[in-house]
């Protein structure tokens, strides 16, 4: 009983546990929704005059411009939060049960990541509904919009893999800041409020090579239905997926051989 069916059963069991924990615990749901909403209200509301800045040429408008940011930000942080859950499981010893009862332990990694994705999908729906109410304008084709959400979920996986790699290695809630801070910095150094071409100085140089830039710009291009730097976004997903996949798998190995 150690073949693929068992592996898959383990993945879904772990994902189901995390998902149930999430949906039955308002203390987990509410911050996950409040956060993007506040972001959205603050930026799309307060800063929408930015669209009058010369050179701001995002056809769907500022709400849509910000929507993409909130989408990626909440997807990625959805991945970070699963790192918290894993760190907690290690800290209180529950992870031992998973390590002991799961024949092929990669099921643990995939199970947590799947839970993060389910949760991110829920947040995406929520953010999208809010955005639609706030006047989200969609110019992309249905295919492009589908790709936008695939990209958002892929960035969720990147966030999960990053955080899982840390959680497996350090097995403690005390390192959760190290899961979040690099992501904050990446997002902070990306074109959040204005398009890339309106950034200047050192931040422009950083933003030019920041992987988060490619994701945001690619997502915005898909939403606008324009031929933007979408390929670069996919490259970020693929390369990031390989690098962070190795990072999290070696983290799991580290947890096995402590």
């Amino acid at each position: 009983m150690t073949g693929f069916p068992t592996w898959w059963s383990g993945v879904s069991g772990i994902a189901a546990r995390q998902t149930r924990a999430f949906f039955t615990n308002p203390a987990l749901i509410i911050p996950g929704l409040l956060f993007p909403m506040l972001f959205f209200a603050a930026f799309a509301g307060g800063l929408s005059d930015l669209t009058r800045v010369p050179g701001f040429d995002y056809a769907p408008g500022y709400t849509s411009f910000q929507y993409v940011f909130v989408l990626f930000q909440s997807s990625m942080f959805g991945g970070i939060f699963i790192g918290f859950a894993v760190a907690r499981d290690f800290e209180n010893g529950f992870a031992r049960r998973l390590m002991l009862a799961t024949p092929h332990r990669s099921a643990i990694l995939f199970g947590y990541a799947a839970a993060a994705m389910i949760r991110a999908a829920f947040t995406i729906v929520f953010v999208t509904v809010i955005a639609l109410i706030a006047g989200l304008d969609i110019l992309g084709s249905p295919g492009q919009i589908a790709l936008l959400y695939v990209l958002a979920l892929a960035s969720n996986i990147l966030g999960s893999l990053w955080a899982l790699g840390i959680a497996f290695r350090f097995q403690s809630l005390s390192v959760t800041p190290f899961m979040q801070i690099p992501l904050f910095i990446l997002l902070f150094l990306a074109p959040v409020y204005v398009p890339l071409q309106l950034l200047s100085g050192w931040i422009r140089h950083v933003a030019d090579v920041n992987p988060a830039t490619f994701l945001l710009e690619g997502g915005r291009a898909l939403l606008a239905g324009s031929a933007g730097p979408v390929l670069a976004a996919w490259l970020v997903v693929i390369i990031g997926g390989i690098v962070l996949g190795i990072w999290s798998l070696t983290g799991l190995r580290a947890a096995e051989t402590r």
Partner: protein, 321 residues
Amino acid sequence: MGAIEVRGLVREFKKGPRAVDGIDITVAEGEIYGFLGPNGAGKSTTVLMLTTLLPPTAGTATVAGFDIVKQGAEVRGAIGAALQEAALDKFLTGREHIKLQGSLHGMKGAELKRRGDDLLERVGLTDAADRKVGGYSGGMKRRLDLALALLHNPRVLFLDEPTTGLDPQSRTALWDEVARLAREDGVTVFLTTQYLEEADALANRVGIIDHGHIVIEGTPAELKASVGRSSVEIEPHDAARLGDLERTLAAFGTPLTMRGTSASIRLNEGVSDVAAIVRALDAEGIGIHQLRLREPTLDDVFLEQTGRSLEGSGDDEDAAE
């Protein structure tokens, strides 16, 4: 090939002791092996290695025929374990634990439900099954942990101090269950304990570990026979004759430190001496108020092997050494 074969197993912690220092163990299929030792002896470390939760520093071991290092997945599929600290999620109910555990082992649907209900019943948790584990007592948690360990019908079962914190009734129930598993289902059981009576009552074979070394191994009867002879403790009718009693007894064995109103000796010959003792006392006119025959215990074995008493030895005393 034994269900558990351990050869030269070592675990050295990075900033700690050589917790397990080259042990050899063979446990036959269907056997209950009692792993006895004081606090800090290395029992849990051994269990963690054999259950693939901790890699050994050196040595090899197979469990259910699979190498614990190279075939971890196969080992995990074949074993169940209830560790010293039950790994439970306080936000999940008992039944949700069963569901999760089952899915980790690839069980599902009606089979899982039937097996889960059956086990919950067997450990007496049917009524509490839908309550969150956070509200369980220590004993309930241990029993749930045991049920989870048994869920997938493991061939080898590891129990790390399974009765610590259980009331006498639950302890007896667990002993019965473990004995039944070995007898009827042919499950091999590796059980660690600090309780001599537990090893004595349950184990077919006992290994005594101290400071990471196995100091002696054998059936409880063999081990007790190795320290030899029984002792007898007699309380006279008339407390004033205690001195006479001691003198008379001295002919039959080595006097032991006695408690208050009675005298005891380690018998030279064994139980056959008792008739002679009674006759001798009768001749002296010393009335017997109470006579207790004491077989050697595993504690005597431990004492002989290590110079310390098992009950209450361990880390605390080590620190004071």
